[in-house]
């Protein structure tokens, strides 16, 4: 609405998650994975009906994270 927009709500959500993650003992999911998770969930936020496809996408991202075991954590 106005030219001066702070963080987007999506970024705000990601920031909230990353802040909690920092205090989470033994966190294995890295920032890149969280970025992908938030992206999938945000883009499908209006989908009220069948969410199986979204869940499959989320599972794939988490599976990838599980396989790498928290490696390649560029942002943390």
């Amino acid at each position: 609405m106005t030219p001066l927009k702070p963080l987007s709500p999506r970024q705000e959500a990601l920031d909230s998650i990353l802040q909690v993650r920092q205090a989470y003992s033994g966190a294995t999911i890295n920032a890149d994975t969280w970025y992908k998770i938030v992206g999938i969930a945000w883009d499908s936020r209006m989908q009220a009906g069948d969410r199986r496809e979204i869940q499959r996408s989320l599972r794939a991202v988490l599976l990838e994270a599980a396989r790498t075991g928290g490696q390649h954590d560029a942002a943390s």
Partner: protein, 657 residues
């Protein structure tokens, strides 16, 4: 989202087909529609809302408005029964055409039956979407739940303003749900729910593997028992939630009915007062009629008043003439007496000198002359004339009696007119409240009962949610035990732990996210309120957990009482802030938004609107906006300007200004 074009057919006062271009450039995104009341401004706003959502609400924001009320009556009378709205808009670089139409029919006045409502949504250059998917697609572009923040009229603003300050639980829930939807918060609850589903599936899959080994049967049974128990609780929870939602809807419905009844109550009391006035008016009419009748009876001669008055005037003239004649006769007689005396004594009675012979002859001639004159003079008695006049005298007030009769006739006419007007209004009210068989007491009792049930339902829900959470934790704990078994695939195990971790982090992040979004909207509301208000004693706005608003003074105290104008500005600031913070971008469409505002506030809002770079559509009437006085406030941001002109009470047209 930007609206590009609106097409109407037989909609509201717009008979036939009408097309309005709405495409604007970000450098001049304001579209003005100027039109006096009853020209069709609200009909245009409703056309947009109905086309998008297929539903309309009355200005209270709650009561459903049947679309039949929007059908052009001239068209219906002419047998032109199709009606509809087409909206061309763009969203995320894609252009869409949304068309919603129906057929109207009417078997009695004021009752329009709508049938064959169809909706099409076609991306330009693409294939139409299946009709069943359209609501979800539109909801994804601009959710119905938050449409009130973008498409609102001045009257709805007042209702919204009331809701923001109401203590009613349902209203708070309504505001909270709408605001959180606008801020994108449901995305995180959806994510948590998706993660839970994924986790359940993973654990179930691991359990399948585990069951193959007999030694794991006990753990597997335990897992299945708890999962079944959890499923039972979740089913109960779903039933209870559905019941709770139903209760909320019922409460909202009863509140809407009661708010309607409030209007009816007012009309009822107005009619009662009018009926008392009419009774008094009828008494006055009777009194005036009686007075006129009395005047007519006591002045029975009035029809012959002209003749009688003429006779009276004649009698008075006769008296004057008779008196003049009497005076003349008296003078003659007096002279005769003098002359006779002079002749009899031979001495002048005046000077005592002897009368000479010559003089005697003259005196005799004079005497003879005088006697002739006396004999010739009229002998009518003045007494007769006076008697005649006295008989006619009462008729001399004919003019004043006639004036009184005239004045009373006028009073009678005025009173009749007043009574007739009151009777007319009484008939109008009777029509408005006819068919109202609402029992207010019963409504209020039911509402109290529903609220009590809702409270109990809330407690039961909360208890069941706790139970579900405890069971869920138990299932997760067993799930972790299952994952620890050597038979489980390592990647599956790690996936289960990752999902667990994701779930915990998401659930802990929700409050932080909600708080940061609430802070954001609170700051935006406060900034906008301070920008729009003309009062200097306010330092900002605070928003509580239920998004109830308070204005803060310079000592940091929440003000319990602020003016109606300040309330409207506060609501406008909140809606503006929500539109600003909303995750959806949509045009702001405001119908008659300045109704109750003074010049200062109105100017501040127009200046604020001039800062927009997204589409704004303003419907204004001359009392709110005058081009020569207010256009400069929009700082050259007017991209299009239209006037809504009235052709007849049932027909209007939109023209470029």
């Amino acid at each position: 989202m930007q609206l590009l074009e609106l097409k109407l057919r037989n909609w509201g006062p717009f008979y036939g087909e009408h097309k309005v271009d709405l495409a604007v450039d970000p450098s001049a995104p304001v579209i003005l529609f100027r039109g006096e009341n009853m020209r069709g401004k609200t009909s245009l706003l409703r056309a947009i809302v109905w086309c998008l959502y297929g539903q309309l609400r009355e200005q209270d924001g709650r009561t459903p408005l049947p679309v039949g009320k929007m059908v052009n009556l001239d068209a219906l009378q002419a047998g032109d029964t199709p009606f509809g709205v087409t909206l061309r808009f763009s969203h995320n670089g894609v252009e869409y055409v949304l068309h919603r139409s129906g057929t109207a029919d009417s078997d009695q006045p004021d009752k329009v039956i709508v049938s064959q409502v169809v909706v099409d949504l076609i991306p330009v250059g693409g294939l139409p979407y299946p009709a069943a998917n359209i609501p979800e697609i539109i909801d994804g572009i601009i959710s119905r739940d938050i449409a009130d923040f973008f498409f609102f009229d001045g009257e709805m603003l007042t209702r919204f303003e009331e809701r923001l300050r109401e203590e009613r639980a349902t209203s708070q829930g309504f505001v909270r749900a709408q605001v959180e939807r606008a801020l994108g918060l449901p995305f995180m609850t959806n994510l948590a729910s998706d993660l839970e589903t994924i986790q359940d599936a993973i654990t179930a899959s691991m359990d399948q593997v585990l069951r193959k080994e007999k030694k794991n049967n006990a753990l597997s049974e335990k897992f299945r028992d708890k999962t079944d128990e959890l499923a039972g609780v979740e089913k109960d929870l779903a039933d209870l939630r559905a019941r709770d939602t139903d209760l909320v809807a019922q409460i909202a419905d009863y509140e809407a009915q009661l708010s309607k009844v409030e209007e009816i109550k007012e009309l009822y009391y107005e009619r009662k007062a009018l009926e008392a006035d009419i009774e008094r008016g009828e008494d006055t009419i009777k009194d005036i009629r009686a007075s006129i009748a009395n005047l007519a009876e006591t002045n029975w001669w009035l029809p012959a008043a002209d003749t009688l008055v003429a006779k009276l005037e004649a009698a008075e003239a006769e008296i004057v003439a008779a008196e003049d004649a009497d005076r003349e006769r008296y003078k003659l007689q007096f002279r005769i007496d003098q002359v006779e005396k002079q002749l009899g004594s031979g001495v002048c009675p005046a000077c005592g000198q002897p009368v000479s012979v010559h003089n005697e002859a003259e005196l005799n001639a004079e005497l003879s002359q005088l006697r002739q004159e006396l004999a010739a003079s009229p002998t009518k008695s003045v007494d007769d004339a006076r008697r005649q006049r006295d008989r006619l005298r009462p008729f001399g007030r004919a003019a004043s009696v006639l004036q009184r009769v005239f004045e009373q006739e006028q009073d009678l006419g005025r009173e009749k007119l007043r009574v007739d007007k009151k009777r007319q209004r009484t008939r109008q009210i009777s029509e408005q409240i006819s068919g109202n068989t609402v029992n207010i007491d019963a409504l209020e009792r039911t509402l109290v009962h529903l609220k009590a049930t809702k409270q109990r339902s809330g407690l039961a829900l909360s208890g069941l949610e706790d139970k579900r959470q405890a069971l869920k934790n138990e299932v997760n704990r067993i799930g972790n035990q299952i994952a620890d078994q050597p038979e489980v695939d390592e990647t599956e195990r790690r996936l289960q732990r990752s999902v667990n971790e994701a779930q915990e982090i998401v659930s802990k992040s929700f409050d932080h996210f909600r708080e940061s979004m609430r802070d954001r909207v609170a700051k935006a509301t406060s900034d906008l309120f301070l920008r729009l208000t003309t009062e200097k004693e306010y330092s900002g706005v605070s928003i509580n957990e239920d998004y109830l608003l308070s204005v803060i003074d310079h000592q940091g105290r929440a003000l319990s009482m602020i003016s109606a104008g300040a309330n409207q500005i506060l609501t406008m600031a909140f809606i503006g802030a929500l539109a600003e913070c909303s995750v959806d971008e949509a045009p702001m469409v405001m119908d008659t938004p300045f109704g109750r505002l003074d010049t200062g506030h109105r100017n501040a809002i127009l200046s604020w609107v001039s800062t927009f770079n997204t589409q704004v559509i303003l419907f204004v009437q001359s009392g709110e906006y005058e081009p020569e006085r207010h256009a400069y406030l929009l700082d050259g941001k007017i991209g299009r300007e239209y006037t809504i002109d009235r052709l007849s009470p049932t027909r209007s047209e939109v023209h470029a200004a």
